[in-house]
Amino acid sequence: MVTLAPMPEPTVTPSAAPRPVAVAPAAPANPAARAVIEIDDVDFNYGAARALHDITLNIPERQVTAFIGPSGCGKSTLLRCLNRMNDLIDGARVSAGQIRIDGVDINDPRVDIIELRKRVGMVFQKSNPFPKSIYENITYGLRIQGQKSKARLDEVVERSLRGAALWDEVKDRLHESALGMSGGQQQRLCIARAIAVEPEIILMDEPCSALDPIATAKVEELIHELKKQFTIVIVTHNMQQAARCSDRTAFFYLGKLVEYADTRTIFMNPANPQTEAYVSGRFG
C-alpha cells in the first residue's frame, strides 16, 4: 500500500467520538474492507458561507462509494476536499475536522500536495482532455514527473487505455488530437489519463452527466472493472447510476450527510424519511 509522505506519529483519532449525524448501521458490502479515507466531523467554508456541516464518513478500500443528493448540497465540495482541489478557490477551507487518507491528515501543512494528487486522481464533470494528442494526454502525468523512456511511456499508454476500455477504439490514432473523439471516448480518455499515474483513489464528479445512455453504460461498466484496483468515489445526481454501480451510498442534503450505508440499504430500506423521499424521486 502506498503511503503519503510524511507519516505523522500515530494519533488518537477522534473518530470514535459519538457522531452527530444519524448513520444507518448497515453491514458494508465487504466487511473486511479497510477504510482508506476517513472524514471526521468536517466543516467546510467558502469564505463566510458554510457549505458542509459536520460530515463524518469512512470510505472503504476498493469499493465504489457514491455521493448523491440534490444539486448544491455539497457533493462536489466534499469530493474536491479529498484531493485538495478546493485549494484553488480563494477563501475556501476545511474549517473544522480532519480528512485522513491512509491515516494521514491531508490538510497537515507537511503534506506534499503534488504527491497527494498523484495518489488521488480525479475525473471531472465536464470531460477535459488537453487539446493535444491522445498519447500526450495519457503520458502527461508521467512526463511531468520526469519519465522520459519511450518504451515505458508506450507501455503505460497501452495499459491505461486498455484499463479504460479504450485501446481497441483508438490504438490506430494515438497521435491524433484527443478532441476528435466522441464525448464518451473523451471521458474515458480522462479516466485513462488519471489511471496512468497509478493512483490509489479515483474521484469522479458526475462523470456521465454529459454523456448519452450508451456512453454512460460503458463508463459504468468501466467503473465496475476499475474497483478491482482502485478505490472509487463517484458523485452522481443519477440515482439509477448510484444504485447500479456503487457499493455504498451517501445521501447529502443542504450540506449535511443525511444517511450513509451500503447501497442496497439506501435504496431498499433507508432509515431516514428524507433519504426515502429522495431515492423514490419525490424531491431533488
Partner: protein, 349 residues
C-alpha cells in the same frame, strides 16, 4: 379588443418603429462605408504613388537601388539643354569628368532624395524585433503573475489600474522618459537599447492587458485536469495554459508591432539618427551593437516630408518611403498572424 385578424396584423404595414429601424440601419451602414472609403483612399494614394517608385515596368521590375542603397543628396542641374538629376556619388564622378562644361552651372541640391532607404528598413526591423521581444517577455511574465498567481486585492486592483492608465500616456511622454532615463541617466546614448526599452514600455500595457485576457480565456478545466494529475502550478502554466493563450497574446502583439514600428516621437528621442553612414552590423565590437543609433523609416518619413522642399524631385522618396514602411509593418505583422494561425491549428479548443 382585436380589431384585425392575425393575417392582417402580420402582413407588414409601415409603422414609425419600422421607419426608425430602417433609418438607423442605413446610418450605421453609411458610417462603416465612410470609414472604409477613407482607409481605401489612403492605401490607394500611397499604393499608387509609392508603388510607382518601387515597381518598374522593365526587368527586374523592382527599384533595387531604392531598397538596397543608403540615402544620398540629390543634385539637379542643367546639362546640354536638359535637366539632369544625380545622386551625390554619381554627381562627384560626373563633375570630375565634365569639369569644364559644368563650370558656372547652378546646381540645386535636395538632401536624402537620391539613393535608397536600406539602412532605414534595417533599423526599423531591428527596432521592432528587439522591442517586441522585450515587451513580450516582460508583458507575458507580468500577465502570468497577474492572472495565475496574484490574489485579488486592493494592491492588485491598483496595479491593474496603473497599467491601463499607462496605455493612455502619449508616446512623446514615453519618448522624453526614455530619453531622460536610458539615454542620459543610464548613459546608453541614442541607441538601439534605449529605443528598444522605451518602445517596449510604450506597448507593455497593451501586451499585459491582452495577455491577461488571453490567459483568463483558457478554460479552467485544463488547469484543474493538470493539477489533479500532480502537476505543479508552474508545470500547469507552462504545458497547459500558456500554449493555449499564445494565439491571443500574438493578436495583441500584431497591434503592438504596428505601434512600435510607427511611433516616431519616442524613436527620435532615443534611437534614431537622421543619417548614419555605417549599417547596424558594421560595428567594431559585438558589444557595441546595442549601443548604436540607427536610421528608421518613420523618422525618415518625418524628415523628408517636413524638412526638405516639396517638389517633383523629392516626391518620389516621400511616397516610396511611406509605401515601403507600410509594407514592412504589414510583413512583420503577417509573420505574427501566420504564427498565430499555426498555433491555433495545433491547439484547437
Amino acid at each position: 379588443m382585436k380589431a384585425t385578424t392575425t393575417a392582417q396584423a402580420i402582413y407588414g404595414r409601415p409603422t414609425s418603429a419600422k421607419r426608425i429601424e430602417t433609418g438607423v440601419f442605413w446610418l450605421l451602414r453609411l458610417c462603416t462605408y465612410f470609414v472604409l472609403l477613407c482607409a481605401a483612399f489612403i492605401f490607394w494614394d500611397i499604393g499608387a504613388k509609392g508603388g510607382a517608385v518601387i515597381f518598374k515596368s522593365s526587368a527586374p521590375f523592382i527599384n533595387v537601388p531604392f531598397l538596397t542603397e543608403a540615402p544620398e543628396t540629390l543634385n539637379v542641374f542643367d546639362y546640354q539643354g536638359g535637366k539632369r538629376t544625380m545622386g551625390d556619388r554619381a554627381f562627384r564622378q560626373f563633375k570630375a569628368e565634365h569639369e569644364a562644361e559644368l563650370k558656372g552651372v547652378p546646381v540645386e541640391t535636395y538632401v536624402y532624395s537620391a539613393g535608397g532607404i536600406f539602412p532605414n528598413i534595417a533599423g526599423t526591423v531591428l527596432l521592432v524585433l528587439g522591442s517586441m521581444l522585450i515587451a513580450l517577455v516582460l508583458g507575458v511574465l507580468s500577465a502570468i503573475y497577474l492572472s495565475e498567481y496574484a490574489t485579488d486585492g486592493p494592491f492588485i486592483r491598483f496595479l491593474r489600474l496603473a497599467i491601463i492608465n499607462l496605455a493612455g500616456v502619449p508616446s512623446i511622454v514615453f519618448g522624453l522618459f526614455g530619453f531622460g532615463l536610458f539615454v542620459i541617466a543610464f548613459d546608453f546614448g541614442v541607441s538601439l537599447l534605449a529605443g528598444w526599452l522605451t518602445l517596449a514600455f510604450m506597448v507593455l500595457p497593451v501586451i499585459i492587458t491582452a495577455s491577461e485576457e488571453a490567459l483568463k480565456a483558457v478554460p479552467k478545466g485544463y488547469r484543474e485536469a493538470s493539477l489533479a494529475l500532480g502537476a505543479t502550478k508552474l508545470q500547469t502554466i507552462r504545458n497547459n495554459v500558456l500554449p493555449y493563450a499564445l494565439p491571443g497574446i500574438l493578436t495583441s502583439s500584431v497591434l503592438a508591432i504596428a505601434r512600435v514600428a510607427g511611433e516616431t516621437a519616442p524613436m527620435m528621442f532615443t534611437a534614431a539618427f537622421v543619417m548614419r553612414d555605417e549599417l547596424p552590423w558594421q560595428v567594431q565590437r559585438w558589444t557595441e551593437f546595442v549601443f548604436q543609433g540607427v536610421m528608421a523609416l518613420p523618422y525618415h518619413i518625418y524628415v523628408v516630408a517636413s524638412k526638405i522642399p516639396q517638389n517633383e524631385y523629392t516626391r518620389d522618396v516621400q511616397y516610396g518611403t511611406a509605401f515601403v514602411f507600410l509594407f514592412t509593418v504589414a510583413a512583420i505583422a503577417m509573420t505574427a498572424v501566420i504564427l498565430r494561425q499555426r498555433l491555433r491549428k495545433k491547439y484547437q479548443w
